[in-house]
């Protein structure tokens, strides 16, 4: 029989298999009802609306005015936008690897067998738990302020400093990056879970062969951990690109000093809810989606070069 004849024969066969695939339609509608309404009404609908809005000028009081590509053209010359992209990229490119390195390092130390593992794990997790709160951001403001804890501690080491690190444009962003690194507890827990899954026999076999700790790490631990490192990396990049609270509180909503802490979402907030330029804010939101999507795609593409899956 030719391929065409086979296909025709298949089409003529009554599709008995289809029925079990859809016999729960009514029940699904009941259980999935809220999600369906939420998906179309609060997610997909608004996404499309926001796409439309990005081509308009809209301040909520008057009707939206269609302005074509003006918002996007404005993005090209908007220096504050460029600054916010620079600030956010710096935060992500410096903060994410730093945080993950600390998390990985401590996970490795803990995994080698330290008594009181649960205590350390919980203790390191606490900053992560509190880290996204306004309270901690407020604390950070005061720790790195002129008379703050940080300067006092520097004083213990003989360094006399009275500068306010958050009021200095060259260091303000670094304090926020440090806050992010401080919350390493959460990825550390994920690394710990991953390390636990590496069979001890691998290490035993390697050390029987005389491999040093470093070589064991490089050839056993690291390759087997790459999927988890990748997972943490993707999540951290997506998440930290949307950082808002810390930037807002540390700069008191301004993104200062001199826009040195003007995170992307902070700028979006200022445009959309400070100045009610909702058309432009929608365009900014979509640009954020594109940037995050592109970064994730690049991450996935690059992963085939360094992530080893256990096949």
């Amino acid at each position: 029989m030719s391929l065409a004849e086979l296909q025709r024969a298949a089409r003529r066969t009554p599709k008995v298999a289809a029925k079990p695939d859809t016999h729960d339609n009514k029940a699904a509608l009941q259980f999935l009802g809220p999600w369906i309404i939420g998906f179309f009404g609060l997610t997909l609908g608004p996404m499309l609306a926001s796409l439309v809005l990005s081509f308009t000028d809209y301040n909520l009081l008057q009707n939206a005015k269609f302005v074509g590509l003006d918002n996007f053209a404005h993005m090209l010359t908007d220096t504050r936008l460029h600054q916010s992209i620079k600030v956010t990229f710096t935060y992500v490119l410096v903060g994410v690897p730093s945080q993950l390195l600390v998390a990985l390092f401590l996970a490795l130390v803990l995994d080698r067998g330290v008594r009181g593992l649960t205590f350390y794990r919980s203790a390191f997790y606490l900053p992560s738990l509190l880290g996204s709160s306004v309270a901690i951001a407020v604390l950070w403001r005061l720790v790195f302020g002129g008379q703050g804890l940080f300067n006092d501690i520097l004083g213990w080491f003989g360094v006399s400093a009275a500068t306010s690190w958050i009021a200095d444009p060259s260091t303000a962003l670094s304090t926020i990056i440090l806050l992010h690194v401080w919350t390493f507890g959460s990825p550390m827990i994920i690394f710990l879970a991953g390390l636990r899954q590496i069979p001890r026999e691998y290490y035993e076999a390697a050390s029987c062969d005389g491999a040093t700790i470093w070589r064991q790490f490089r050839h056993i631990t690291l390759p087997l951990l790459t999927p988890i490192i990748f997972f943490n990396l993707v999540l951290a990049i997506i998440g930290s690109f949307q950082a808002f609270t810390q930037a807002f509180i540390v700069s008191n909503g301004t993104g200062g000093p001199t826009d040195s802490t003007l995170f992307y979402t902070l700028y979006l907030y200022q445009q959309g809810f400070g100045q009610f330029r909702m058309g432009y804010a929608s365009a900014l939101a979509w640009l954020l989606v594109v940037i995050v999507g592109a970064l994730t795609a690049v991450n996935f593409w690059a992963s085939k070069f360094w992530v080893h899956y256990d096949d």
Binding site: Q30, W35, F39, F124, S128, S132, I136, W182, F244, L288
Partner: protein, 281 residues
């Protein structure tokens, strides 16, 4: 042989010392905040030690009444929003999870894919139109925009969490109940839900955590100071106090994280297991 034993003992001690130091450094800011809140205003700065010479609670009494309303109002507001969010998520995410995990229906695969994609979606792309919708419904200056979406399973992360969990429950239980004449709602409510308590607990705890700390949405929707939740109220401390009374600000900051500390103390098991298995924050 003896040499190696000495070496491992030494490195074990150094590891312990290092870890303890790391914990101290890590927790120092938080401890300092708590200690500072119990010092009189003038003694907070230039005082980096954790030694408590006085036990002064005046910051708490001042801070409690420093803003327009007693701080308890803001705690209550946050509690209301959190309660609404947790309830909404528990009900609608569990329902959706049952559908995805146990039912067979048309468009199931694309729906599941769509649901997964919304997990990673930046909220900013929906926040402007959502704000417009709520503005037209005259719901802007209220708790509704913060609670209502949770009753429509918009936190897809928890749907995914629960789907994975339900998949681990044997279908034989469903079958047995069906043979006894139970319909889907009976199976869901009487068979599966009771077995899902770990996933439900994890959902409740993470929803609590994320909602209590949620600054962005609450900042946008709550303009009436009487409705301020804890994050927004704390922020206005920075404005209101300016240079004075850091003590009050510290005290109220400590108060604001007490629920989180309690959550941590009692929900640790679920928090850590939840992170280790799903990567939530």
């Amino acid at each position: 042989m003896r040499k190696r034993r000495v070496r491992t003992r030494v490195s074990s001690t150094t590891r312990h010392v290092f870890m303890i130091l790391a914990v101290v450094v890590s927790l120092y800011p938080v401890l300092w905040m708590v200690v500072s809140s119990l010092r009189p205003d003038g003694h907070i700065f230039n005082n980096p030690s954790l030694v408590l010479n006085t036990f002064d609670t005046s910051n708490y009494t001042h801070g409690w009444n420093a803003l327009g309303r007693p701080f308890g109002v803001y705690l209550l507001n946050s509690a209301i929003v959190v309660l609404g969010a947790v309830t909404g998520n528990l009900i609608t995410c569990a329902m959706a999870a049952y559908a995805f995990a146990r039912l067979r229906f048309r468009f199931q695969r694309p729906a599941f894919a769509a649901m997964l994609m919304t997990i990673m979606l930046p909220i900013h792309v929906v926040v402007v139109p959502q704000y417009v919708i709520f503005a037209h419904l005259h719901m802007v200056n209220s708790f509704w925009p913060l609670i209502l979406p949770k009753f429509f399973a918009t936190d897809a992360f928890f749907i995914f969490l629960m789907v994975q969990f339900i998949r681990g429950l044997p279908r034989e239980l469903d079958e047995a109940a069906r043979i006894d004449g139970a319909g889907h709602w009976r199976i869901f409510g009487q068979i599966l839900l009771p077995l899902m308590t770990p996933a439900l607990a994890t959902t409740a705890i993470f929803t609590f955590l994320w909602t209590w700390n949620d600054f962005f949405s609450q900042l946008i929707y709550l303009t009436d100071p009487n409705l301020y939740t804890v994050p927004v109220a704390l922020r206005s401390f920075i404005d209101a106090q300016g240079k004075s009374s850091y003590g009050s600000m510290f005290a109220m900051s400590v108060v604001s994280i007490v629920p989180l500390l309690l959550l941590f103390a009692f929900g640790q098991k679920y928090l850590i297991r939840g992170i280790a298995t799903t990567g939530g924050k």
